[in-house]
Subunit: 326 residues, 4 copies
């Protein structure tokens, strides 16, 4: 965010601000051969810098139109999209490099996955079915001069003393264990009625964001391979062992990712505890040995934590840009 800007007699001034175009749905088809490829993104571009005249005086001389930001996204897609992180870095460098007063910003993408339809025994050349599993997310934050906090990204391509942060992530990855989960040994007070259990369903929608460092902050890095690996590690760790609390499982998942990926500085996870209650069938003369459950909507538990490396700072500018994480 930018500093406080130009003041009025009242002492009421403009604070942090950003603006841009949100949710540009761009689809890129690569058709160099008969075997087409598809990239399907939802891109948001938000600029930060000196926009005080627009706020205070209705002077738009600095306001790069949000429509122009949209056009730029489509135009840049003409050369190919590649990984969402690399695409966002290109956009970030363009905007911070093209307009003096744009000192930073926030570029975000959702990526929707498509699989080839298997027809007559073969994956089809140009027909796809959307995989509804998780949504991949990417975020690039550029801090301008004076942004302060020592960043993860060194000085970027955009010029000057800017810092670029690259966060990858996923959301809506819904997982469930039918056993090997419990919850015991918690403190009790006047309001505690929950019974202890050593066998329950554990279900959650995994949301994760991880911050790259070093080589991971470069458009040449293989973000797609890293994504596939992190996704696999999160899933695999979820399956392992007995879960004494969702907190433990969350931490184990994050730790595994950091252990295997030196280029990741930190990972944050937000995981609802999607309650599955054992239904009391005894009024109907039936037992229920953890077989029949009611899947509740609300309320739900919500467990959130960062798994970090000792001595490695968390850049505030990067994490503030991520909505809904602790």
């Amino acid at each position: 965010m930018t500093e406080q800007q130009s003041s009025a007699a009242s002492g009421i001034v403009l604070g942090a601000n950003q603006y841009g175009k949100a949710e540009v749905r761009v689809v890129k088809v690569t058709r160099d051969t008969a075997r087409h490829e598809i990239d399907d993104l939802n891109v948001t571009s938000q600029l930060r810098g000196d926009f005080s005249a627009a706020h205070l005086a209705g002077d738009n001389a600095h306001v790069v139109p949000t429509d122009t930001q949209k056009n730029t996204i489509f135009a840049f897609a003409r050369d190919g999209i590649g990984s969402p992180e690399a695409f966002l870095l290109r956009l970030a460098d363009h905007f911070t490099g093209s307009f003096d007063w744009v000192t930073g910003g926030r570029w975000e993408a959702e990526k929707f996955a498509w699989q080839r339809i298997v027809a007559h025994g073969e994956p089809h050349d140009h027909s796809f079915v959307r995989s509804g599993q998780e949504v991949r997310t990417a975020l690039v934050v550029v801090e301008g001069a004076g942004g302060g906090v020592g960043g993860t990204g060194g000085t970027g391509g955009g010029g000057g003393d800017r810092t670029r942060h690259v966060l990858a992530g996923l959301k809506e990855l819904t997982v469930l264990k039918t056993t090997e989960s419990g919850f015991e040994g918690y403190p009790r007070d006047r309001y505690t009625t929950l019974p202890e259990t050593r066998d329950r369903i554990l279900a959650t929608d995994v949301s994760a964001r991880w911050l790259y460092r070093g080589a991971g902050v470069d458009a040449g890095f293989d973000y797609d391979a890293a994504y596939d690996s992190v996704r696999g590690l999160l899933l695999e760790t979820f399956t392992e062992g007995y879960s004494a609390a969702l907190q433990t499982t969350l931490f184990d998942m994050g730790r595994r990712v950091l252990e295997r990926h030196d280029e990741i500085a930190e990972i944050r996870l937000s995981m609802p505890n999607k309650h599955h209650f054992v239904v009391d069938l005894s009024p109907f003369g039936l037992d229920n040995p953890n077989e029949v459950f009611y899947a509740a909507d609300r309320p739900y538990g919500l467990i959130e934590a960062a798994v970090v490396r000792e001595g490695v700072d968390s850049p505030a500018a990067a994490w503030e840009a991520v909505a809904g994480f602790c």
Copy 2:
């Protein structure tokens, strides 16, 4: 629906009516061995019959509580769920068989698919990830005596001269072809501005409902195998050949299903035309040979049709119970 019931001096009377419990989220874990299985359904139960006293006089003597309907769903799950169609048939037979005044009803389910998480190279015994692809749907409609229309299901297990209809289906199966689709030769009037094309993206969310006949209206029928087959045929046919209109593709998909499945009387498809517009990049000095698209939300085309067998009637009672199909 039931007939008009008990009248008032005003000539204003009760018409068709039904009631029940909607969206019971039941999860059944089968844990006979270490390799657990999971069934995850969203079940709705609605009864039809003689409920005029409740409407006209506040007399609930016939109103089987919706809470009881919910309890019954959980209790029946204790014995296992199996295919959603078979589960709904059990519920239908129970309610129409247990209460004289319940002459019919409507039982519906959504089924959410889970895949085993692959961990350390193997599908895990009790850890699952939800497949977000399509949602499977099932519907059982029971017409009571006097319901009139000759039904698909013969006399059911519930007793008397009732007719049971079984519809299977799916929704939210999102598919896309990057080429081999066009739209030409349409009529023009004062309001026509659309250019013709022989190469466009074709994208849709397939919603389908198919009605079983004969052996397909029996809890012993292998609904799961039929579902997998129909799903595969719909996907495969979507990939084939050049699409001159979404109507043609829709009809071909339905016809293929009927050709391969004698036990299916009729299939109805509802398919939005999810527009992907080629972005005009010429103002930026760029060409765009069908590579960069804007994926629009609204408005969208909407193509709906039934594919039927000559001489085989469509039972109104079955299809009226399906919301949102033509």
Copy 3:
């Protein structure tokens, strides 16, 4: 719906079908004076008729593009929108009157209400805040020759022996009574655990559709005044007396509307029972005399009924076009 059309050797033929453009978001500002008016609609146009060549042979000679349907909606809005029912009748007459093979169709609208912002003590001339209360709905269905059932609308403006049906409605009108509601005297079976009550919260989202007859099927009818009246009657009746069951309340609401509006042939209501459960506070040493409730999401009761006039037929073509009503 149209009849079965042109067949193949296989005996697999096209059944009922319709197509069009869905969810055209049109906003019309009337600015003849400094006091602007705003109409905000979401319009869907679907044509029925002879479209077999498109389905069977990829011949689009009859396929009025959905894009043209969209353009027509915007063009017709240029002359003003007026009530949504009158606007849909204009569209219906246009399409059925302009193309020989378009014998009927389905035109639907949602109307979003805006209120003037009160600024400095006065309703503002051109600034509005959206009322999020209910959404008004309108539907016009035209049955072509051979559509059979004697309709509500006589012969329409579109020509020939067509029948026009006009349905008005509303949805998402959320109401709640904190007392004067109970549920007793219901049948019990093995699965019944619900306790009886004479004091509970009654909450529902009212969805209603009513069918006009006679003078009510004419663009000159004052649909706006009728809408306001019906909405008021539904709300007022909801408040009255003790509710012995949601069924009773629903019927009373519908009856009141028919009693006061001769031009309405029939009304159908779909009302979820949105459960508010009294929370058991006794483990915390507290009583709870119906003061603290948990508002549940799912499952919910679902009560649906038609309130009709003795001896007046329900035209199937009209009601089939309404998704999700019994």
Copy 4:
């Protein structure tokens, strides 16, 4: 957020974390007289403090169950809810005061408004219709010792050297001006195609969060009156004058609130620019003098800014807890 906690040989440690119960839907009816009152909230409680043992060792001795947090919300509602801010302060003081290791947390509420149904000319005693207009929001953040930043709230009731932050807000307040809005004088580059305009529709969904200071951080403060005033000022300012950019309108709205409310330290606004495009009707031989618009869904502009007081710090702990604001 809490500091980094207990480490492993790997140097991978727990960072900031919080957990709790989300979206507890509590409805409180006050029925001391025949004229009932209703409070309808969606409450989330999240605790911060020393929970490292749960994450690192599966030891739940510090994990106050999320179920207990839910129970506490219901139990506290028994004494009445009052303003959402005061209710959250009670919860915050309870949790931070009851468990030594709970040093802070985040308590949030949505409040849904209900209006009395007017029946037979009078507002009804116990029947309500939900106002769908905006949703009121409230948030209390408690920073524990060592949380650092000098807070807005002084030391709270919970004990020790804690700082309590109170934020009020609203979301989904949809407003629209049919004229007196334009966008001109912006910079142009290769990707700019937007035409300038001095007359367009300006529409947005206002989201606002404001932070109280001084007397505003006390359960005795009249949060309801302040809310009504701020809401009114936001709406009124939106109507005023010519809008040269949404940025200008946003800043004016925020400034007005700070000018009138000394007890508010800062306000942040997030306002999408909901595009209404003038439809080109010239192909149909029609003019369109800003009368017929297409209301687009995506993409949309997104304008976000803080309006602050010179020399008054923004406490990071407060604003980090608000998802989706810049």
